[in-house]
């Protein structure tokens, strides 16, 4: 097999084996993890083996701490070594569940080039989002299978070359241009691409980065960070110019400060295009200008019961100490009465504390409330109440801003429901989503309920407390499939409402029709929601009861 036919994943495995922590690591899809890891080990050799860690690990495991059990058993302090004290190569499963403390520590370790992190995730789970901090620091995405191609001798040879690999400044220029044209967020990605291109050259046995190295680096590092397709004018140029010349393999790197050759830039763009994420192409055909979905969604790490943060409300016996704070005074107090007895057997004058004495602090975490507004923006509501609904969301939002609650916005109209605003505390995003809330069309109430339900589930899974506030007149006339059929639509709505009630979410239905409607009241009953008819509601009137509900939820 020649190097030109190698799969991207194989290249990544080789590069990480060669550069180790200086390149950071990769985000790898679960299903190809095994092939990737074996390809990596094949190249790096057993001395660079990966250490598997679960995402449930406590920050202590990374920083190290006093090993209490061992300390007590031996009667002298025993420190458990923190993983990140020395350079590490880690394999992290279910990376999206890593808690915020560990994320932060790992990001610091990556910054000082002391960590090679292979993060595993299921790319098909829409809720699974790697924390942005780590995402930005891992240059590669691996979704294909890797072959065991590179061998330790390749790597050793490449390593001797690596330090001396030259890089013509035109490649830096071209990589920057390509990155900007596809909307890459930060120059950090280009730096990673530059480092990768050097690694690729070294693996190929070249003394300087050439076109093919730069193109491959762009594909591996930049393509998956694309926010949009390359700008049209550049595409046009491409059509006019002949296909790029075949890569030249001589490594004659003279410092070239002349204007960069446009053909070079195209090689890079072309390479990127071949690996653009699928959703971008889809967006292009649909004409969306949105950013990649869910970029700012927070990690779905669940709150651990008895976490370490929050207010202390007492203490309890500890079955195990992982990640919990020992309440030292309570522990000593528990141990004290036993001392005379224990000394008879243990026989020295130090305090004898056993595992049974351990007490840990009980921590009360304030549960974050998330108000999910499901707004009926259909024609029947739009003209009368949409402005008021917007006003209410704004008022609540201003309050959530102070109380640290979050707000999400689902709207349904015409044929479908959509999440206009995923749970956020950001005023800026909310402002934008609200401004863009359109009105008119039929009432796909069932679809709206489904969407709110899904969002509420997601919030609960992430450890929050959802409360759904449905603003509608309760008269659905569009089915889930988008047909205008009032009878079927009503049926579907009621079944959606029952499903909703079965999860026991807190909910509130605000009847926005001019006169209170029986349909709305029935729907509220089916959802187990509080029913609030608001024939003349103003924004502040709507906001009042919601405020009270939020206070209860987050208490």
């Amino acid at each position: 097999m020649t190097e030109d036919d190698l799969a991207d994943a194989t290249w990544v495995a080789g590069l990480l084996a060669l550069c180790g922590p200086t390149l950071g690591g990769a985000l790898v899809a679960d299903e190809v993890a095994e092939s990737f890891v074996s390809s990596y080990i094949h190249a790096a050799g057993p001395s660079c083996a990966l250490r598997t860690i679960p995402s449930s690990l406590a920050a202590d495991a990374l920083t190290g701490s006093l090993d209490l059990a061992a300390t007590l058993a031996l009667g002298k302090p025993v420190q458990s070594q923190g993983l990140l004290r020395s350079e590490q190569r880690l394999l992290l499963r279910r990376a999206e569940r890593l808690d915020v403390a560990c994320t932060s520590l790992m990001a610091q370790a990556l910054d000082r080039d002391a960590l090679l992190l292979i993060a595993l995730m299921n790319p098909h789970d829409p809720d699974a989002q790697l924390a942005p901090k780590l995402d930005a620091r891992l240059p590669f995405r691996v979704e294909g299978y890797a072959e065991p191609h590179w061998q330790p001798q390749h790597i050793t040879t490449a390593r001797t070359l690596l330090a001396a690999v030259a890089l013509d400044s035109k490649w830096v220029q071209n990589l920057c241009e390509a990155a900007l044209s596809i909307g890459v967020e930060s120059p950090r990605a280009v730096l990673q691409a530059v480092a990768a291109s050097r690694g690729i050259a070294a693996l190929r046995g070249l003394k300087a980065v050439d076109e093919s190295c730069a193109a491959l680096a762009a594909r591996l590092v930049l393509a998956h960070r694309a926010q949009h397709l390359p700008k049209p004018d550049q595409e046009q140029e491409e059509d006019e110019t002949p296909p790029p010349p075949p890569p030249t393999a001589d490594g004659d790197a003279t410092e070239n400060n002349a204007a960069p050759n446009p053909a070079d830039a195209e090689v890079i763009l072309e390479a990127i295009k071949s690996a653009l994420p699928a959703h971008l192409l889809q967006m292009a055909t649909e004409g969306f200008g949105k950013k990649a979905a869910g970029r700012t969604v927070k990690s779905s790490a669940p709150r651990k019961a008895g976490g370490q943060r929050g207010r202390r409300i007492g203490n309890k016996r500890a079955s195990s100490l992982t990640g919990q704070r020992l309440d030292i005074i309570a522990t000593l107090r528990t141990a004290a009465p036993w001392q005379p007895l224990r000394r008879k057997f243990g026989g020295n004058d130090r305090m004898i504390v056993t595992r049974d004495d351990f007490r840990v602090s009980r921590i009360k975490q304030r549960n974050e409330a998330t108000a999910i507004f499901a707004v009926d923006a259909s024609g029947s509501t739009a003209f009368q109440r949409l402005a008021e609904a917007k006003g209410a969301v704004e008022t609540i939002l201003a309050e959530c801003y102070v109380r640290r609650d979050r707000v999400a916005l689902v709207s349904f109209r015409s044929k479908k429901a959509e999440v206009l605003l995923p749970p956020t505390r950001s005023l800026e995003r909310a402002k934008r989503a609200l401004a863009g809330l359109p009105g008119g069309g039929g009432t796909p109430l069932a679809a709206g309920l489904d969407e709110a339900f899904a969002l509420a589930l997601q919030v609960r899974r992430a450890g929050g407390n959802p409360i759904v506030i449905l603003l509608t007149d309760g008269r659905g006339n569009v089915t889930r499939e988008g047909e205008g059929n009032r009878v079927k639509a009503t049926e579907e709505t009621l079944s959606a409402a029952k499903l909703f009630a079965s999860e026991g979410f807190d909910a509130m239905l605000i009847d926005v029709s001019p006169e209170p409607q029986k349909t709305a009241r029935t729907l509220a009953a089916a959802m187990h929601a509080t029913y609030l008819p608001m024939p003349r509601a103003s924004a502040t009137d709507i906001a009042q009861p919601i405020r009270r509900a939020l206070q209860v939820v987050s208490a």
């Binding site: 920050a59 920083t63 190290g64 701490s65 006093l66 209490l68 300390t71 007590l72 302090p77 923190g82 990140l84 004290r85 808690d99 915020v100 403390a101 560990c102 994320t103 932060s104 520590l105 610091q108 370790a109 910054d111 000082r112 942005p132 930005a136 400044s169 830096v172 220029q173 990589l175 920057c176 241009e177 900007l180 967020e185 930060s186 120059p187 990605a189 280009v190 730096l191 530059v194 480092a195 700012t296 927070k298 943060r309 929050g310 704070r325 020992l326 030292i328 005074i329 000593l332 130090r350 305090m351 704004e394 939002l397 801003y401 102070v402 956020t424 505390r425 950001s426 005023l427 995003r429």
Partner: protein
Amino acid sequence: MGTNKKSSAGSDHNRIVYSFSAVAGQQELKTCLVLTAVDPTIGGLLAMGDRGTGKSTTVRAFAALLPPIKAVKGCPYHCDPDALQSACDQCRSAVAFKTETIRVPVVDLPLGATEDRVAGALDLERALSRGEKVFEPGLLAKANRGYLYIDEVNLLEDHLVDLLLDVAASGENLFEREGLSVRHPARFVLIGSGNPEEGELRPQLLDRFGLSVEVKTPQDVASWVDIVKRRDAYERDPQKFYSEWEPEEKKLRQRIQAGRKLLRDVVVPDAIQESAAALCLALKTDGLRGQLTLIRAARALAAFEKQKTVGLNHIKRMALPALRHRLRRNPLEETGSAVRIERAIQDVLGP
């Protein structure tokens, strides 16, 4: 738990840090950082903006730029041997001590750090093995006389932010817990950064930061090429990079030191005080803190620029970073703070 020793593994002790002068762009952030060194009483600095703009690089580079400080050897708070009135109890009562020269400390506060880790805790090791009640200093102690940097400060637990701001304002950490009562100096400049798209800081915390800057990723190829080339050069050969930039670093260092010396003699004329007050009034900033910070920042800027009198231009230039985060906000107000401040400058202070 007893983890503060370990975090030193994360410091840049043996590594050559990126040079501050080599940080491309980010002029406002750089100026504000320099001013916090000229006059630390300005208070902390908040840098909000895009991810991956090199905020942490800039902060770390800045601490490395500052002239090294003299400290009591072995003191966990690295007390200043020349200013014992503000030293910890031990140093104050010590009869004799050795001194050492250290770099200005920069402490990276990891998100999710526990209160124990930040404020300190009972030293479990000593408590359990020897039955002694001893305080084990936390990150606040480490940051004394230096910088405490918190990335994603907007995601930090509220009670921790409160604690940090209290300590930053008072300059000492009062520890009253687990049967211990400890008071130690913790004078540091708090630097927070974050991305507003991920959540915002509560307004009541916002105005506790002295200055605030908005950090943006440049969108032109030339700046990107600059950033990448410099950073690449640094990563390839840190030693060479260091010697290339050191002359400029030295110049800046001397300017900061000169600014510190001059600061005491810089005069703020009454007319300038009045203009600052008028500006704050026009913008309806809450309380006096904004005005005070504005004057301090303008004075530091004048000192840094070797001028003995604060002029209107200093006020104008510092108005944005000193007031941007103090405007009373209608949460869905369309006009950005920057525009409102510039308009007010025009109206009140003239073009």
